[in-house]
Every structure is written in structure tokens, then in C-alpha cells.
Amino acid sequence: MIDLQLSKYIYTSEGDQMLTIEMQIETGSVVALYGSSGVGKTTLLRMLAGLTKPDDGHIEVNGQIWFDKKKGIHVSPQKRGVGMVFQEYALFPNMTVRQNIEYGLADHRDKRWVDELLELTDLTQLSSRKPGTLSGGQQQRVALCRTLAHNPSLLLLDEAFSSLDQATRTRLQDETLRLHRHFSLTTILVSHDIEEIRKMADVVIKIEQGKIIKQGKPADLLYAPKKYHHIELTGILTKVETVEGGCILTIHASDSTHRIFLDTASTVQNPTQWQVGDSIVITLPYESSSVRKL
């Protein structure tokens, strides 16, 4: 169990504010910190890692005190056993992939552990490459691997997947979840991606203006856009043109005219099913809709 009660005066682009956080985290869970930029999510991770000193409060992890202002205790980052994966990867450019991971190796660990990790994260082929020659996704895998080599009990992910493309992001999320379970970690992640939080987190904590404003299961707290969010336009069919490979429907809706091509596969039935004067509903799904100001 992680028990923390912290306060820290932070300076952000939105203005200065007091970050006051009080929360308990179950060991073995994945907790997502959610909220707009500059509310103190990264500062909270940094305070947990020991990289930033809180102004007041305490941090207790599984009975061990990491920080206590009153008792004057501040355990250094080196002694906390925390693994942190940064948005910018933070790989050492002078070292190869293998050397980066070996650098993270806890002193008592056998070097064969590095081979296992490389294999586990599908990095064996890249082990002799320098970070500068790798793609963003590969670099993030190395960063994750290096952090795990240190054998942390608490894994902190600071927008670790935000700069990756969707396919790589999904793959790394799956990989991270698998590793989280495999190593029985407690994971805290900062993310702006609702889908990522819904997929990965057991608990989501929403922070606004330096305070926790909501806390609960992602399914209860977060809006499910794919389920409900779509746009519907109702109109009248004014023209049907049969063309090569399908048909074009001209629909008058909301004082504007829309021409929509339907290919043979999507019409399925004979194009003659469409009759001029029919009432038509055009549905734009969430995935393909976009909004802009005129």
C-alpha cells in the first residue's frame, strides 16, 4: 500500500498554485493520473521518485517511509527502488541498447537477466544499436526494459506512450500491462489519452487546480465516446445517379446539399432501392468525424 499526503507549491504556465494531494494506492494496481496540462501530475510522479522534494507531507510505501517533512526524512531516488519511464525516453546516447539496459541492472542481478529482458521485449536484434538509430517505439521499449532491469517495485510512466503512433502505442500498452502482471508491479501512469486509461488502469484519479477532484474506476468516471458519440443528419433524397462501381446520392439536409458516393459493396442491394423523396439519415461515426470552426 502506498500512502501519501503531499503539498508542493508549483510554478506552471497557467500560473502558480499549491498542489495538495492525499491518496492511497493498492499494491499491484495500475493507477492513472488524469487532468489538464500543468496541474501537477508530473510533479507528483517526480515527488514519488524522489526527484522533487515536497514542501510538506509524507510518503509511505509498504511500511517504509520515503518522505516525512516533520521527521526530516527524504530517501534519495537511488534508494527508493522506483522505475520511471519518461516521455522523452531519456536513453543514454553514448551506450548501445544492451549497455543502456545493463546500466539499469541492479548490482546483485545476473547479466543473463538482460538477455531475458531483451527477448521479452523483442529487442535482441537491436542490442548493439545506439539509441539514436532507433524509432520512437523501439526507444520507448528500451526505456521500459532498462527500467525493469532495475527491478523496481513501483513503475512510474510519465506520458510514456504519448509521442508514439497508434499502432506502436497499442502494442506497448499491451506489453507494459503484460510486464506489470509478470513482475507484480504497482504502476502509476500519467496520461491524457482516455482510451489508454480505460484500457490500462484499475483506478483513475482526476487532478484539477492542484487537487484530486475525482477518483474511481475508469468505466465509472470516464466518458465512453465510441459508444455514444456520433453525428446524425436527417434530409431528403433529391437525386440518385448510377455510376461505375456504385451510385451517388444527392441529399438535402439542414439547408445544404450533400453528395455521397456509395460503392457496390456498401449498397449491397440494387441502387434502385433509393427513391427520390425518401427521408434519409446520414450517420458520421466518432472515429471519422472532425469538428472545425468556420
Partner: protein
């Protein structure tokens, strides 16, 4: 010819020793200035930069006075360690080290200050001490700054004149370096011989700077910054 080689060798010896001492002294000094905040930091920074604005003869004069047996330090050195620094190689080495200090400290300090702090954070959260982080992460990634400090110090010491003349005088094989020989020869109107020394210094400094630029470009492409 023998005298010529002896003088150039002594000049190189002084430059090499000064550079070696300054690498060892400057890394912790620059590290402290770059990563720690303390009240007397501006005073230390000013003291290190002083040789940049101070006439070499002023520094040489004060060192000459300090090393003199008439004064406390010189007296103590002579009485207890049986060491006299004025007009010796050790004396000009100390003077040269102090005089070239900013040429080594400044590039290394800049390298430390521009080093991405996130790499330090990554190293600390991986359980590594400040010392391990310095040796294995920071120094290999600031090679251009280190090279720049080494080459500038070496080249600067090769051409040092004022401080050496004040503390060392002109003793062949002990304190008589190339720049002092050039001055002497010109005074005696021996321009041809002076040119032999001057040309050697000019070519050496030029080649050294070319090597610095080539090396730092190559190192930059390897280290990403």
C-alpha cells in the same frame, strides 16, 4: 639545434603537465559550479575568470611575492619542505595552472550546464550515484566540451609569456620556454632564429585547433548533442 629542441620540449612538457593537472582539478570544480548553489559561488566564478582580464604580469608579480622566502608561504615551503618555487619548473607550472584555469573550467562547466537533466534523473532513478552518473553518463556525453578545454589549455600554455617571465625568469632547461626565447632573440635582433621558434608555435597551435574542430565534429555526431 640542441637548445632549440630542449626549449620546445620544455614548452611541451609545461603545456602537458598544466593540462593534465587542470583536467583533474577542473572536472570537480566545474561540476560543483554547474550543479550546486551556494552563497560564495559568484566569488569563486570571479576568481576563476580573473586571469582572463588580469595582465599576466600582475598575476606573475603576486605569485613571485607569495613564493618568496620573505613571505609566509614561501618561507614555510622552504623551511619545512625544502622547496623553492621561484625560478623553477614547479613554480612556472603552478603559475601556468592558475593562469589557464578558466580555459579548462569554462568549457567543462558549459558542458555540464547544457547536459539534459532528464538523463541525470534517469540515472538516479536507476539507483546510480552522482559519481557513477558523472563517469558513465555525463563525461562520455560532453566529450566536445572536454576536448575543447584540453586543446585550449594546451595551446594557451604553449604560448604563455608574462606569468612565466615573472616567476621563472629565463633559465635554460628549467624555465626558458619558447615564447621567452622569441622575446630574447628579437631583443638581440636575431629575427631569423626567432622565426624558427615562432613558426613552430604558430604551426603547432594551428594544427591543434584543426584537430579540435575535426574531433569535436566527429564526437558530436556520435553523441547526438
Amino acid at each position: 639545434m640542441e637548445e632549440y629542441l630542449e626549449t620546445l620540449l620544455l614548452t611541451c612538457q609545461l603545456a602537458f603537465c598544466t593540462t593534465f593537472i587542470l583536467v583533474i582539478v577542473s572536472i570537480p570544480l566545474a561540476y560543483g559550479l554547474a550543479f550546486f548553489r551556494f552563497r560564495i559561488k559568484p566569488i569563486i566564478e570571479a576568481l576563476i575568470s580573473l586571469p582572463l582580464v588580469l595582465p599576466p604580469t600582475v598575476l606573475g608579480f603576486y605569485l613571485l611575492v607569495t613564493f618568496s622566502p620573505e613571505n609566509m608561504l614561501g618561507h614555510w615551503l622552504e623551511k619545512y619542505l625544502h622547496v623553492s618555487l621561484n625560478f623553477t619548473f614547479a613554480g612556472i607550472l603552478i603559475g601556468s595552472t592558475i593562469y589557464s584555469l578558466p580555459f579548462m573550467v569554462h568549457p567543462i562547466q558549459a558542458g555540464f550546464e547544457n547536459f539534459p537533466s532528464i538523463l541525470l534523473d534517469a540515472s538516479y532513478t536507476l539507483g546510480k550515484s552522482r559519481m557513477t552518473t558523472l563517469w558513465k553518463v555525463i563525461l562520455p556525453n560532453i566529450k566536445p566540451s572536454l576536448l575543447s578545454g584540453i586543446v585550449l589549455t594546451f595551446a594557451h600554455t604553449m604560448g604563455e609569456f608574462g606569468v612565466i617571465l615573472m616567476i621563472g625568469g629565463n633559465i635554460p632547461g628549467e624555465t626558458r620556454v619558447a615564447s621567452i626565447v622569441i622575446y630574447d632573440l628579437v631583443e638581440d635582433l636575431k629575427y631569423k632564429q626567432a622565426n624558427q621558434y615562432a613558426l613552430a608555435l604558430l604551426l603547432f597551435s594551428f594544427v591543434l585547433l584543426i584537430a579540435l574542430y575535426r574531433l569535436s565534429r566527429r564526437t558530436q555526431s556520435h553523441t547526438l548533442f
